[in-house]
């Protein structure tokens, strides 16, 4: 609830309080306000991919039940935030660049691959019977897929093709301080939101497992 409130506050501040950008520097200055949710959702997606990586390793090597529940919850969280980021990025691209996507841009494509990976994990888990082999296969994807996270992070620093480079924590310091405050509130709110969602998702997975056990018991006793 706190996360949702913060996300709502970020939206309001981004629309009403944050200053407008120069009409000379942008093709679509109004659309620039997409940035106040686009960047925090990308940040939240990266946190979710990090959780997915840790959960996959712990499940794979230590076989902890909570790690599998974290794997399931974080793959769903990374899908939701990844889709939010890709959708808002495409709309901003259409407004600012005139095209929603650039197949030559490393940042766009590695992030899209991460989102597709989480889609595969969410849909794959729902279509496969639960078991050690299934969990190991999806955990392996969670571990190896994480290699795309550092590539996505450094992509605009090494190969800036179309996606803008970093605007905060750089020597250029190009972001206005009011914009930075809204962005910071957004990043904190999305972090709280995703932690809350992952916790709720872990509880859901626990309930699903409990239901599965009860159904098995019920079927055995009915025979």
């Amino acid at each position: 609830m706190l996360g949702l409130f913060g996300v709502g506050l970020t939206f309001w501040l981004g629309m009403e309080w944050a200053p407008s950008v120069s009409i000379n520097a942008f093709q679509a200055p109004d659309a620039q306000r997409i940035f106040y949710w686009h960047v925090p959702s990308a940040w939240a997606a990266m946190i979710a991919f990090g959780m997915l990586f840790v959960a996959s390793i712990i499940w794979f090597f230590k076989r902890k039940e909570w790690a599998w529940r974290l794997h399931v919850a974080s793959s769903e969280a990374s899908l939701a935030t990844g889709l939010m980021c890709v959708w808002s990025g495409c709309i901003w691209g259409a407004a600012e660049w005139g095209v929603p996507w650039d197949w030559t841009d490393i940042r766009l494509n590695t992030f899209a691959m991460l989102t597709l990976l989480s889609l595969y994990l969410v849909l794959g888990r729902r279509s496969q019977p639960d078991g050690i082999e299934t969990r190991d296969t999806f955990s392996a994807f969670g571990m190896y897929g994480f290699v795309l996270v550092p590539i996505t992070y450094i992509a605009t620093r090494l190969w800036q093709i179309r996606h803008p480079g970093p605007v905060i924590a750089t020597s250029e310091g190009s972001l206005n301080s009011d914009m930075s405050i809204v962005l910071l509130i957004g990043a904190i709110s999305f972090t709280v939101l995703i932690i809350g969602h992952v916790m709720a998702g872990m509880r859901l997975t626990k309930l699903e497992m409990h239901l599965q056990d009860l159904q098995t018991r019920f079927e055995e006793e009915s025979r």
Binding site: L4, V7, F11, A28, P29, D30, A31, Q32, R33, I34, W37, H38, S41, E76, A80, L83, M84, W87, S88, I91, W92, A94, A95, H197, A200, G201, R203, L204, L207, E208, H210, L211, L214, Q215, R217, F218, E221
Partner: protein
């Protein structure tokens, strides 16, 4: 399309995704709890008979 329209389209999509995700979590939780309760009742009844 003007910048404002792009802004509206982007936020509507994101708000929709966020609302759907949150609603799904609550709805799944409710459904699972109801199923667990009914199964537990059925199992308890069988055991007591």
């Amino acid at each position: 399309m003007s910048g404002q329209n792009y802004l509206v389209a982007a936020y509507l999509g994101m708000i929709g995704a966020l609302a759907l995700w949150t609603w799904t979590v609550f709805a799944r939780s409710k459904t699972l709890e109801a199923k667990i309760n009914s199964l537990e009742k059925a199992l308890f009844n069988e055991e007591s008979e």
